[in-house]
Symmetry: C2
Subunit: 191 residues, 2 copies
Amino acid sequence: MPDVKHFDPDAVLEQVEQLFWQRGTASTGVSEVVAVTGLSRSSLYATFGGKRELYVKALRRYVEQRSRPVFDRLAADDRGLPAIVDFFDRLIQARCTGEHARWGCMVSNAHAGSESGDPEVRRVLDLHQERLLTAMHAALSKARLRPGLDLDATADLLTLLAYGVNLRSRAGADPSHLRAAVAAALDPLRP
Amino acid sequence: MPDVKHFDPDAVLEQVEQLFWQRGTASTGVSEVVAVTGLSRSSLYATFGGKRELYVKALRRYVEQRSRPVFDRLAADDRGLPAIVDFFDRLIQARCTGEHARWGCMVSNAHAGSESGDPEVRRVLDLHQERLLTAMHAALSKARLRPGLDLDATADLLTLLAYGVNLRSRAGADPSHLRAAVAAALDPLRP
DNA sequence: CCTATCTTAGAATAATCGTTCCAAGATGGA
DNA sequence: TCCATCTTGGAACGATTATTCTAAGATAGG
């Protein structure tokens, strides 16, 4: 039997994900990927393909490993509006402090870059959007809300708000302002 | 007296602005700038400096020539909520149809890219944000609103919503969904 | 221990990057 | 018309880009 890989592909993919997340794909060279991962170019290309495929795989990993658990928690939370408040609190916390502060959201970043022209990337963006929308809708449907409220439109609104938070947090937005804006969106929903 | 320029610098800057707006700075080469403008590299560098300064100048032009008039109109509109409805209608129209459809907003795009790390770029982003916030606040302050509403927080919310619209429009978001989301944000403001 | 088969390190590739340079061309006051 | 002074076209620059290739190293069944 032949030789086996001398590294864990998913651990490497996580490093690559963080690199592309923080700095984008267009302004990150393969040399930097090599430097960060410690892999040789041969191993990199043999395992993941070219730079484009590497980026798509890293983006997919972000959606599955980072976004998915958060969306699932939101969808499964039965508390109603507090579930949504919690979602935004955690979002703002993650975007403004800690390890990934001021990195924004990798998917939101992909929207604005030239990578969004790639059909394969676009499909990942749409998947992300649809999942967030669905989770938000589920959480909303379990809340006691002001009568006559349009659930679909409100879910759309809160989803767009999340994208706005992601974007502005990258430019150093004040977390307390972000929290106040979220409160302004959620307060009028109450009966 | 020496020779004079054989071109109109602002007309060229507009072409460059559109190039960077649509494709971003990291994935647009100086060769493409040369190709689109018809200028020689000498003239380009003598007039605008290097690529970075060219991008910043193009971004500044966007903020002054594209955003500013729209924000001014919003701030000067005395109709109250209809002024804000109008702002978002025009925004969604511009982002989803016509000449610049699916380009997003150059400033929003800059948020997500690596260019947002540049302090000079950051200052332009902050200026844009502050102007939009101020205009939104002015328009809100002239509206008949539900009592007890937090004007500052609501202005923050609507500003973030605009960024969300900008982002999602680039990925082909359905304009009618965007309009419904905006309506969901504005409806509960009414008394 | 041998060897078929894979992985690895790193040199080499051609293309493109942003920038500079120089000679030729254009300008308008003297 | 002459000329000092700027602009212009385009070649040239070294650095960096993504990708490929080759030779050496590692592996595990026979």
